[in-house]
Symmetry: C2
Subunit: 338 residues, 2 copies
């Protein structure tokens, strides 16, 4: 049986997360039982939601248990199978977590899914054609429900969710404006991802200044906003929302360390008759097939060409994850482990 390097959650962060919260260990993979499959992980997915699960407090999901392998999505390859539906060599997507191998009870619904890599690179099943892509799809299609000609805005614009959002919104005839950190990301958003404009929030030190930049980039106001960040960015966007605007709340990464992250003028929700709605994509499995079909098509036809940041080796996962929380990644953050 192969040696399996794993990253465990060793202790919970107090305030900001740090590398000291994690621990690298090595174990031997156990022999397979009937129905089980041994998956060699190629890429681990790193996603902001994982930060929330590191806390002990109440959230929408159970906290990540202490001393257990960090949970998360993976793509990889079946190397051994005692399940008739899977053969060695099959490319799969699963929830194997931060380790090099996982043993999966493949009879459990949704535990492991075979994917076709003819037109879509395997790693994209963790990004544009995976959970982040479906997240963009749900927020845009089911909550914002855009009409052609409307203006859509998204924060964390060059990330896995943002790039999918841009392609999906352009396909619906919208103007799409991104908010990202730094000139390189903004240039990339416009040149490569199809954004009509992108605002560098690092150039703005308060909501008033960012609000002016939004006015220039969105001359007809904002009809739909996809929230990944919270804080000053949400405050600024609220001042530019049109009447009957819709805000899909997917994340508030700026507040994941536990400090309050107030909205300064919630009365704008009333003044502009806004709908502000939080959602978690894993609670809406019924829309995944439709969303994945559209996203796969956009990738296969070159209309969605997402960028990836790839950290090398399982031991690099904690630092890559902490960088993601600071916005140091550029595109979907992955870890290559095998």
């Amino acid at each position: 049986m192969p040696q399996n390097q794993q990253i465990l959650l060793d202790n919970r962060p107090e305030g900001e997360a740090s590398a000291a919260n994690f621990k690298l260990v090595s174990t031997e993979t156990p022999p397979l039982q009937d129905g089980q499959v041994l998956v060699q992980h190629h890429f681990l997915s790193l996603d902001p939601y994982m930060r929330g699960r590191m806390n002990a407090g109440k959230s929408y999901a159970q906290p990540q248990p202490l001393g257990a392998v960090m949970q998360g999505g993976i793509v990889g390859e079946v190397v051994e199978s005692k399940n008739p539906r899977f053969q060695p060599g099959d490319k799969v997507v699963g929830m194997g977590g931060w380790q090099q191998y996982s043993v999966v009870d493949a009879n459990q619904p949704g535990a492991l899914r075979k994917v076709d890599t003819t037109h879509v690179p395997l790693s994209h099943y963790l990004g544009a054609v995976g959970m982040p892509g479906v997240t963009a799809w749900y927020g845009l299609v089911k909550i914002i429900a855009p009409k052609a000609g409307e203006t859509m805005v998204i924060s964390a614009a060059t990330g896995a969710v943002g790039s999918a959002f841009a392609a999906l919104a352009k396909a619906r005839g919208c103007r799409v404006v991104g908010i990202a950190g730094g000139p390189d990301k903004c240039k990339y958003a416009v040149d490569e991802l199809g954004f009509d404009a992108c605002i560098d929030y690092k150039l703005h030190k308060d909501a008033g200044s960012l609000s002016k930049a939004l006015k220039d980039a969105c001359p007809d106001g904002i009809d739909g906003y996809f929230e990944n960040v919270g804080g000053m960015i949400l405050d600024a966007v609220l001042t530019r929302m049109n009447a009957f605007g819709r805000i899909a709340v997917c994340g508030m990464i700026a507040g994941y360390d536990g400090a309050p992250l107030p909205i300064t003028y919630p009365a704008l929700i009333l003044v502009n008759r806004l709908k502000v709605q939080g959602f978690i994509v894993s609670e809406h499995m019924e829309i995944w097939p439709e969303a994945l079909a559209e996203l796969g098509q956009l990738v296969a036809t070159g209309k969605l060409r997402p960028r990836e940041s790839i950290a090398q080796g399982i031991e690099a996962a904690p630092e890559a994850f902490l960088g993601l929380l600071k916005g140091r990644n550029f595109g979907k953050q992955l870890v290559k482990v095998n």
Copy 2:
């Protein structure tokens, strides 16, 4: 022609509104043109939304013009008519504003509506069977969409909107909890309005304390919240919302003087996948007939027995209005003018 005492908006408030913002004048009512009706006002309606219109800034409605009669709903009686659809003696609802008489072009759609006072007292057409009642109906039925057995909460519980909300929610099999200021209002909410419990917010000096009281009053959490106030009350309610809860934002009276009124933990919108939606009932005229029919039935059958605070004389309107903004009214605030 009769003399007509009027209250004008003389100047705009800076911060808190005061009696010095208003001016009482007297004019003669002009002779009627064809199609016009002279209405003698019996009651003026005082409503929190009027405070927003006193400001010059952008809001959902045009600001109240300076030097013009304060706008607002009235009930009264036709005293002279050059319109074949109206006869002297007809009881009517209109938007005549803060004055003793109005001349109405009764051919304009929606300008004047005849009402039946057989089962519903005339003044109730400004409250339970008028705009405030329909406001409660829209927020409850169209935004919150309650299920039997769910828990509903409303702030400003004994006001015109709150009392209608309680009757409508009880009719749908919900537990209904009010938030009001002072022991008299809370006792009245439970004894007379059908609330299952009512919390006196004046006993709580911060959101944490109010949150504990909400936990006791709402042992199964909160599924729907109707927001009239904002500030600390909204913060406290957010901590007790159940997953997939709905918040109808109708008013934020605590912020009408222009100071920011932050939400401290908007991340709860995400954590609990809430829907928070602002609305203005005048934009949904299509639901008024259905809503008014149900509200009229609740009043006629004694299931909704709303309380009124009646100020005497047109000159009392400014102080009564300022009292309303401070929560000094008890039930629907009216002014008896003729």
